[in-house]
Symmetry: C2
Subunit: 324 residues, 2 copies
């Protein structure tokens, strides 16, 4: 298994036609003025089911042979991948079993169940979701829909990068740098592959939350580092133990950098997205925007692309971010 190619991403885009939405590339005069750069936001929070995840989940299920997926699918996820897998399974009219951490946001758990999936909760700190999920999948003959470490999943997420690259080119814009939310790394790897194909000079930076900065350490050491267990962050979508093997290989070959932002920066980015872009972004979906809003003097006058990867946030968390 290796990371997907641009051709794999194009094939995913053909499978996703009429399934995933082409999300807009948003721009705000006020944010551009504030940071002294031209900032484009790929608004994947406006994607069907509220996050980019439907791209990868649907592409993965579609690429299974009908016999492979006949008994249904299994996914483990803190939320958005759960919703996406449940929704994609429903489109194929097959069962979905989702293994979710017990502390996942209520909105995400309820949405997954409303889509007809069977939800199995586990303790994120003390239990091993891969062991739990693996046992169920083996017993019931379910096809696995991994959240990131699968070439079809990465290719699906990469279609967001393909669209952004096309839209930037249509606007006559050429990104100097792209900030991409990362945890398992499927979205950042897929988008990075698509962006580098169109814009070879574009710098790529994966953004993670403080405390879950395994990627910063992994890119420095050259091997995949782990996050310590039990860390809590407002960025519930970005709390996997370790970047995936395939995404990490892609990050290395594409020359990715990485940086981590604080919960306070993520919340400030959510408030800026509310105020200036009129979009609802969840904490983990706001870290790439948070990185751009640091307004690093090195970025003045540059063209910046960020992804706002999801908008599935409980109203109390959102209201708290707005209150600043």
């Amino acid at each position: 298994m290796s990371a997907p190619t641009i051709e794999d991403i194009r094939a995913a885009a053909r499978r996703l036609a009429g399934v995933a939405r082409r999300t807009p590339l948003l721009e705000s005069d006020a944010l551009n003025d504030a940071i002294g750069a031209r900032l484009f936001v790929k608004a994947e929070c406006l994607q069907r089911f509220g996050a980019f995840k439907i791209r990868g989940a649907y592409n993965r299920i579609a690429a299974y042979a009908p016999a492979e997926r006949a008994n249904g699918v299994l996914a483990f996820s803190s939320g958005n991948h759960a919703i996406a897998t449940a929704a994609a399974a429903k489109m194929f009219a097959i069962p979905a079993v989702i293994v979710m951490p017990a502390d996942a946001p209520a909105a995400k758990r309820e949405r997954t169940m409303a889509l007809g999936a069977e939800v199995i909760l586990y303790d994120r700190v003390n239990e091993d979701r891969e062991a739990i999920g693996g046992a169920i999948a083996a017993a019931r003959g379910l096809a696995l829909v991994k959240p990131f470490d699968d070439p079809f999943v990465i290719a699906g997420q990469g279609t967001a990068g393909l669209e952004a690259a096309e839209d930037l080119q249509a606007l006559g814009a050429r990104p100097d740098i792209a900030f991409l939310c990362a945890s398992g790394g499927g979205l950042a790897a897929g988008m990075g592959i698509a962006l580098k194909d169109r814009f070879p000079a574009c710098a790529l930076v994966a953004v993670e939350p403080h405390g879950h900065d395994d990627l910063v350490r992994s890119l420095a050491s050259g091997v995949r580092e782990r996050n310590p267990p039990g860390i809590r962050s407002i960025c519930d979508a970005l709390l996997v133990d370790q970047v995936g093997a395939l995404p990490f290989a892609a990050f290395q070959s594409l020359g990715f950098g990485a940086l981590a932002v604080s919960d306070a920066e993520a919340k400030a980015a959510m408030a800026a997205a509310f105020r200036e872009l009129k979009i609802v972004v969840e904490p983990g979906g706001a870290v790439a925007l948070a990185a751009a809003l640091r307004a690093d003097p090195a970025l003045r006058g540059k063209t910046i692309l960020v992804v706002a990867s999801g908008g599935n946030v409980d109203r109390d968390v959102f209201a708290e971010a707005l209150a600043g």
Copy 2:
């Protein structure tokens, strides 16, 4: 003066290319399921400066001869038209004077001033904004940018309808009914003209807030009725005294219906837009969505278009709507 034609709207679209954003048509699986219909939302809250108003304001200023607009422009507005006129004037590098009610939302007043406009406040209940604005415009030789009763303004707003019609057609969808936010009526009239051109069988319904239902009464009586002064509503964007003469003529010739929704319904629509569409909609911008969410049994199985006309809302008002 008469209402614009579809050709006037097409001319406006050409002027607005590269100025206004082509906003997306959003759809939510969950909302479709909830109302048993196919619902499309034209997300004008994602327009530049947070509302559809830049379309009309820019088209109006662009259509003035350079000599006519050389001294600058004047507008009176409760907020979104103020921001749009200030922004459009800035693009033409001419001064803007905005006459605003003293109780307009702080966010809108601050944004207008940040765009370089001179803001003059008046008492919405006891003073006559047209008299105040007219005196200043005459004294300084300013060109008027009316909020709705101008064919160039209506044509500009109508470009939102042109885009929605094109996008619906590209999706193979044919709207049975369109709910359009209305107060002065420029947006509803312009969008109605564009939609009827493409979809002659589409029913058109203007939606206003309870207490400001002059249009419901005007369409019944056949003459323009007034709203009583001093009414307060959460829908700050929809509080003009009376529908404009040109929009009203268009409503009559296009066979518009009208209905009014409560503040509670507008807030519930804001919460639904947060939860299911991940967009920020202000109270007045949410009334058309509120009408669709009533889930009138007569609309089951139908294709519905609504406009979410703006997203410039103070965070406290938004948080209150989410808290339900």
